[in-house]
Symmetry: C2
Subunit: 386 residues, 2 copies
């Protein structure tokens, strides 16, 4: 396999974008990434989108988006792994460059989630859960993560304060991200006074519904050197699945797909979790960030919440998590999230994270963890600055 | 890139399968392929499905299907390119084995299309067209292909008899396929007396709505040799897109994505179209088979219909097309079709096509052409018996 680098990144300003369509926001992000990379062509494209069918009545997204990007006849592959679709698009592009099939590949992600009425978004998102054994019986994702939170609290004594610490930290980081949907700071009091969604999760424990797109350009190390771009090398890629139905798992307080994907990525990179300087992880709910940091092995089981309260995951902590603001503040257009995580890691490794959220001690190695549903799939990637 | 072979194939009996769910039929096909290959494990899986969201309210299909297949934590990638999703799953698996990322990969496809009411299937399929510029204004696929047929008739003098010849030939072939949805023979009179759908296309010009799944196992040549399996090598893979909106193209009487994908696949294989012995092509409508055989360069522009009437595409013709019965008789579960095309090519190359449809002169090289929407994407693969 050939060595592969990320040489360009781009995204649009996320939010409720009533005036823009799915194709508009994808093209905006893709053009920004192409411009950042300075490439004069693409050999192929991958795009992560969870459910264009249910959100905007549009599938066949690879072809549509290649066409609107102006790349007639470009091979374009749309992939889906629920909320991990973006991470999967990145991995698919990585394998394509590594294989020798293509030299310059755009990996993008997009979701236009606000063009549905009533409970349309909840229904669309619920297709990431088990339709026959969860959704049919009324389960939704806030409900499923509330079960995980309750189990974690019971087993480990995780507290309301710990959940709040995640939300406060991520909104603080996101307040410095010009592309974030909700770039405001919040407080423990605001989080704990917000409306209840599914006990113990309140609205300020939940990531929002977002319209957004993100794109990165991958190529070989040789081409990256010729272009004179900063070389951010992909040194590890891990992909694992799990039962998508929560009740089919042995343990609701850990995420096995995340543990397995991280092990694979670390093995490929020849690193241990202690070699990683920071990570973007899938905080679709505050409890998710706590469980994920434990499942990745950053903190011991049951210690993720305490670490958040102590500031260990903050910008100046021992292991900064979600310097971008995470899904919580940046927003969560499901198909785009995994690609945007890569963008933040690239920015931190380049030393170009905006508005004061750049890590003081310049990091060398960063990780992304992008997760589908309640952990039915996970993509983990490790990137190192050359 | 490593050389890659197909060493196992499996599908279920296609039809309106009211008593089986999407996960049931996928597992049935996948187990048959695993059994045929004789492998003791999988390293990863790809699955093509057009719109599980709209047909059965289920996305996150890679994880769900890996779980139901009994492969806990298996990396599983769902891809979508409308009706070419199966061909794309095959290409994605091919690249994964070729890259060295995985040694044994299952490429599957599935669609459960009958679990919708009213015009649900027409709406779901229409998401392969341009929602904003075609579907919103009332276009459906029979209508779009009727436009192509009318244009082809006007430009080249293509006749009603030529369309009928395609349907009669494919049903004759399909009558010998034990997995076909409609394994009955038909006549020109029956075709031309069938109900009009979108002039000039009648119901017997259209492929049906189908529940079905298909799967194949890919591995390296070295592993295939160790297993002692017949080695069917993938010598060419081509992927191209086009505007998904028909009105955006220069010419409605040819399919540019098919021409470009075939050129790429032939170049990779180091072959010309004259080296190919037979092909499975995407006859979603009778006119499609005519236009595709021209776009592939098998027949000159405007000569595809005449070739069908003269029997050149029949089992004993100069270039047999759709020995399986094609989409017309075998059925068209959109995500599975491209994988089932590979199965027929493998059977013909092995000399094991059932019930008398095996080509008399044993073929050496076969081609598949799988197409999304009205040609917004095409996957072409070339397989050779070792």
């Amino acid at each position: 396999m050939r060595d592969v680098a990320v040489i360009g990144v781009g995204m649009n300003k996320w939010g409720e974008l009533w005036e823009k369509s799915l194709r508009d926001i994808f093209v905006e992000a893709a053009l920004a990434a192409i411009d950042d990379a300075g490439v004069d062509h693409l050999d192929s494209m991958t795009v992560g989108c969870m459910t264009g069918g249910l959100f905007v009545g549009q599938e066949h997204l690879g072809s549509l988006l290649a066409d609107y990007l102006g790349y007639k006849n470009l091979p374009a592959t749309r992939v889906e792994s629920a909320c991990a679709s973006g991470g999967l698009a990145f991995r698919t592009a990585f394998i394509e460059v590594a294989s020798g099939m293509s030299d310059i590949v755009l990996a993008g992600g997009v979701e236009k989630m606000t063009d549905v009425s009533g409970d349309g978004a909840t229904y669309a998102l619920a297709t990431a859960a088990d339709q026959e054994y969860e959704v049919f019986h009324g389960a939704t994702f806030p409900g499923l993560y509330a079960l995980m939170a309750t189990a974690h609290m019971q087993k480990y004594g995780t507290t309301r304060e710990m959940l709040s610490a995640v939300a406060v930290k991520n909104h603080f980081n996101g307040s410095m991200n010009p592309f974030a949907q909700y770039p405001f700071k919040t407080t423990r009091e605001e989080v704990e006074g917000s409306v209840m969604v599914a006990s113990p999760l309140r609205i300020m424990d939940c990531s929002p519904i977002t319209d957004g797109a993100a794109a990165v350009i991958l190529t070989t190390i040789d081409i990256a050197k010729k272009l004179g771009k900063p070389i951010i090398k992909i040194i590890g890629s891990g992909h694992a699945t799990d039962s998508i139905a929560l009740h089919s798992r042995d343990d609701m307080t850990t995420l096995l797909s995340t543990t397995v994907a991280a092990e694979k990525a670390l093995k490929m990179a020849g690193k241990s979790i202690k070699d990683i300087n920071f990570a973007e992880v899938h905080d679709c709910f505050t409890i998710a960030e706590i469980v994920v940091t434990e499942s990745l092995g950053i903190f011991a089981p049951g210690k993720g919440g305490e670490a958040a309260v102590k500031g260990e995951t903050g910008l100046e902590g021992s292991f900064p998590i979600n310097t971008s603001g995470g899904l919580k503040s940046k927003g969560h257009p499901v198909g785009a999230t995994g690609v945007a995580q890569v963008i933040e890691v690239v920015k931190q490794l380049r030393g170009t994270a905006e508005n004061g959220r750049q890590l003081k001690k310049r990091p060398k190695i960063g990780m992304t963890q992008n997760m589908g549903g309640s952990g039915g799939s996970t993509l983990v990637h490790i990137l190192e600055v050359a």
